[in-house]
């Protein structure tokens, strides 16, 4: 299974999570967001870039609370909550935002 972008194949799993974290760039993100039906605004990009930064440091997506705190810092305290993140990513910040950010899907009881 693969996405096609500018004649290049980008492998992904059954659910559309890309296989290689390093094969990600903003065009890939836009394409996945398109498939997910999400119109990327600057708020979306803030979240995506934070996810990438955190992943680069810790090899895992941030916990929901870590993410909401970061969002509060960047976008204002009224936006630092789970509900706002679900408005941005209706299928859940943990999973849908990770997919667009090119990160592996969080597994377990989440």
């Amino acid at each position: 299974m693969a996405y096609e972008l500018n004649g290049k194949k980008i492998e992904h799993d059954e659910e559309g999570y890309i296989a290689d974290v390093n094969g990600w760039n903003e065009d890939v993100a836009k394409m996945i967001a398109d498939v997910e039906g999400i119109d990327m605004t600057s708020e979306h990009w803030e979240v995506i870039h934070f996810l990438r930064e955190y992943y680069n440091e810790y090899q895992i997506a941030p916990a929901v609370r870590v993410l909401t705190k970061a969002v509060a810092k960047k976008l204002g305290p009224e936006k630092g909550n789970n509900k706002y993140l679900y408005e941005l990513f209706p299928y859940g910040p943990g999973k849908q935002a990770c997919k667009i950010a090119g990160l592996p899907k969080p597994t377990g009881c989440v």
Binding site: E15, A63, R65, T107, G108, C109
Partner: protein, 497 residues
């Protein structure tokens, strides 16, 4: 929102007796993703479906029958009385007759009869004995992944046949021929490699815990610690990794930390055994259960703790309460004055009784709370060393934390509780239709008390239940934040200082 039809709630006064019309084959399409070689190899399973798989499957079935006498008894003793037929939430939510527990059991039973009993060998289908074919294997894969191993049916079975054990055996056989399920096998692989289901490495765990210390300090002004890998702590907390990661789980973790802080008990989390869940049980693998459980032993031994306390995780408590001593004992290096292991709810209720902590109900005054009994706690374990303690202790605790508590219909609580719809290794997005439909009986009972008694929140003591409700309640027009952690309420009500 959904690519399938969400069941219509009938708002029946008797939600457990709302029996659907039979719809043969309506869930025949539902299957989780198959495990890939990278999920199978580390667990010692074949990469993919092996050659001569029938032979190997029967060989494995034979060895399970020898090893677990219970399995043979369960396969032999069904008299087709029908008591179980309307007790499974997946049947009640889908109407697919193969989700009647007896029909699910018969998928394995018919093969057992054909190859392991004399009448079956002689008379075949005349005595309910069938060949093991590719079609059988596909049906196994489909319908043994529509059983959350919740054991509600076994409560009503006059012979006590445990469908969960049959479904575990079937999954074990499938794993041994290279036909396992991705969700479970990928997760167990992560536990062996990283220490938890999430794949949360030590540094990320440390960062997360430090962040929680800051949060609690900002909110309360108290220095509540979230210690990691502290040698010589009194208590080793074993909790589901979802408690570090997800909402509303993390509120529960904050609650545990505040309880330890206020009680003055030193405690620690281990980065090596940063997981309470033991998915080895879901795939029926004694070997995997053993390996995962022994990570806890090693962590307890290495950190030189005196006690082990389990956080809010349903099946972890079943494994801990019922099997931990067999799997990872003897625990002779722990303090014998305390139960091994202890549940955080036992720990907290005991402190309340002894006046070690004080709670202020008014902190939760806008809530009307109900409790969702988690299957594996309700039907697979106990709390407080007394029969039924697993039902009374969580309720006692909730009533101490909130001024208003209401139970759901008696046919849907305690040992008759309905599964949340996502237990037993089915909490995966590829089974979303099953999860939404299987939640129907529970949601029906919840909606009843919401409309009739003003219930606002459903408290849960299991990471799977919490995640499942967060995801599926919105399908039934209930806000996702209606689900809370039991210790999330403790966290708000506890008086610090």
């Amino acid at each position: 929102m959904a690519k399938f039809e969400v069941p219509v709630l009938t708002m029946s006064e008797e939600p457990a007796r709302d029996i659907p019309e039979i719809q043969a084959g309506v869930m025949a399409h539902s299957r989780p993703f198959l495990a890939k070689p990278e999920h199978n190899k580390p667990l010692g399973f074949p990469d993919s479906l092996v050659d001569h798989w029938q032979e190997k499957a029967l060989e494995r079935m034979g060895s399970l029958l020898k090893r677990f006498r219970s399995l043979r008894v369960f396969l032999d003793s069904c008299v087709k009385c029908g008591a179980c037929t309307d007790k499974c939430h997946y049947f009640l939510g889908t109407g697919d007759p193969k989700n009647m527990p007896v029909a699910r059991q018969d998928l394995l039973r018919s093969v057992y009869r054909r190859y392991f009993t004399l009448p079956g060998q002689l008379f075949g289908p005349l005595v309910g004995a069938n060949d093991l074919t590719q079609e059988t294997l596909e049906e196994w894969y489909t319908y043994f992944h529509q059983c959350s191993q919740c054991r509600r049916c076994s409560v009503f079975c006059p012979y006590g046949i445990d469908t969960a054990e049959i479904s575990m055996a079937a999954r074990d056989i499938m794993d041994h021929v290279g036909y396992g399920q991705k969700y479970c096998n990928e997760i167990i692989t992560k536990v062996h490699k990283i220490g938890n289901n999430l794949g949360l490495p030590g540094p990320a765990l440390a960062d997360t815990l430090m962040g929680l210390e800051e949060d609690v300090h900002d909110e309360t002004g108290h220095d509540v610690k979230f210690p990691l890998d502290v040698e010589g702590a009194d208590v080793l907390l074993i909790t589901p990794s979802a408690d570090f990661f997800a909402e509303p789980h993390v509120d529960g973790l904050v609650g545990y930390a505040k309880v330890f802080h206020q009680a003055g008990v030193s405690w620690t989390v281990s980065s090596y055994a940063s997981e309470a869940a033991n998915f080895g049980m879901f795939i029926g693998s004694y070997e995997q259960m053993y390996k995962v459980a022994n990570r806890i032993r090693k962590a307890a031994y290495d950190l030189k703790v005196k006690r082990i306390v389990f956080g809010e995780c349903g099946h972890a408590w079943r494994v801990a309460y019922s099997f931990l001593n067999t799997l990872a004992g003897p625990w002779d290096f722990l303090d014998k004055d305390y139960p091994v292991p202890q549940h955080i709810i036992e720990f907290t209720t005991d402190l309340i009784q002894r006046g070690g902590i004080k709670l202020d109900r008014s902190a939760n005054e806008n809530m009307v709370v109900t409790l969702h009994d988690s299957c594996n706690v309700a039907r697979g374990a106990r709390m407080g060393g007394v029969p039924g303690g697993q039902f009374t202790l969580p309720r006692t605790l909730l009533k101490a934390c909130a001024p208003q508590y209401v139970d759901m219909h008696p046919d849907t609580i305690n040992d008759k509780t309905f599964c949340c719809g996502g237990g037993g290794g089915l909490l995966t997005d590829d089974l979303m239709e099953l999860r939404v439909k299987g939640a129907k009986p529970r949601v029906e009972a919840l909606k009843n008390v919401m409309t009739q008694a003003g219930v606002t929140h459903i408290a849960s003591l299991c990471a799977i239940c919490k995640s499942q409700f967060t995801k599926i309640l919105p399908y039934y027009d209930i806000e996702m934040d209606a689900v809370v952690s039991v210790h999330g309420l403790v966290s708000k009500a506890i008086l610090l200082g």
